[in-house]
Symmetry: C2
Subunit: 123 residues, 2 copies
DNA sequence: TTCTTAGTTCAATGATTGTTGAACATTAGA
DNA sequence: TCTAATGTTCAACAATCATTGAACTAAGAA
């Protein structure tokens, strides 16, 4: 786990990048799950039903680079949080409306998460 | 101008397709212009500052297939309208929030359209 | 130290994207 | 009819995408 994990500053978050990042079924399912477990940090491993370790690593990077999630190392894990406030400041209403719609059109495997998943162990 | 111009039914509009379609700078600029000239049909030619004829034809097809615009033949032209109501029914709030944000982060060449462009000649 | 957990990096791969230019089709007008 | 205006289709192309498996790194536990 080499590097620095760069995140764009709020004012550098770009709309096309955000929309493109959200325009993928796997990533949309991820942010829907993150939004549901609002403000609770989740590790990448919690999303393994959505793809392989490698694929998830790729998608998490995409979401991070687009400014949609914050990623914080915690031991061997990576804890993810939605950048709700930053996105709301930069592009008001978008995240909420996307999440609301994504919840309806959710991923096949994306069901009752808070129940089926053990505690994240975050702060 | 050969074919039938298929549009998805409102209930068949898919969120990833919409977000992906909007996640392109050219297409984002197009819907920003369409939104600004609200409910006035615009021909593809009105967007030539954003790209070549061929490129626009491609982007219009993307927007149409995603369910974002309606395309109607009118003589040798194609008149575009935003599918505001359909999108609002299917994914409430998304189009408005995207358009509002896109207006701020607009395309370099996307300025005072209603002024610089002659009448569309629509119905 | 050794083993396990959790995630990253890399190269390869096939699919999709957005652009171009040339040729074509369709409609309208002279 | 001939011509202009407005888009479409096609093949080509470089670039990016999403996925895979193998190898690797780092942190924590035994």
């Amino acid at each position: 786990m080499t590097n620095y994990l760069p995140h764009p500053a709020t004012e550098d978050i770009e709309l096309p990048a955000v929309l493109t990042a959200l325009g993928d079924e796997t990533r949309l399912a991820m942010i829907a799950i993150l939004a549901r477990n609002s403000e609770k940090a989740m590790a990448c491993g919690q999303f393994l039903q959505l793809g392989s370790k490698t694929a998830l690593s790729y998608h998490v990077a995409k979401l991070r680079e687009a400014g949609i999630v914050h990623v914080r190392p915690d031991g061997t894990k990576r804890l993810l949080t939605l950048r709700r406030d930053d996105l709301e400041k930069r592009f008001p209403g978008i995240l909420d409306s996307v999440v609301a719609s994504a919840a309806v059109v959710s991923h096949p495997d994306d069901q009752d998460w808070a129940a089926t998943t053990e505690s994240t162990g975050d702060e």
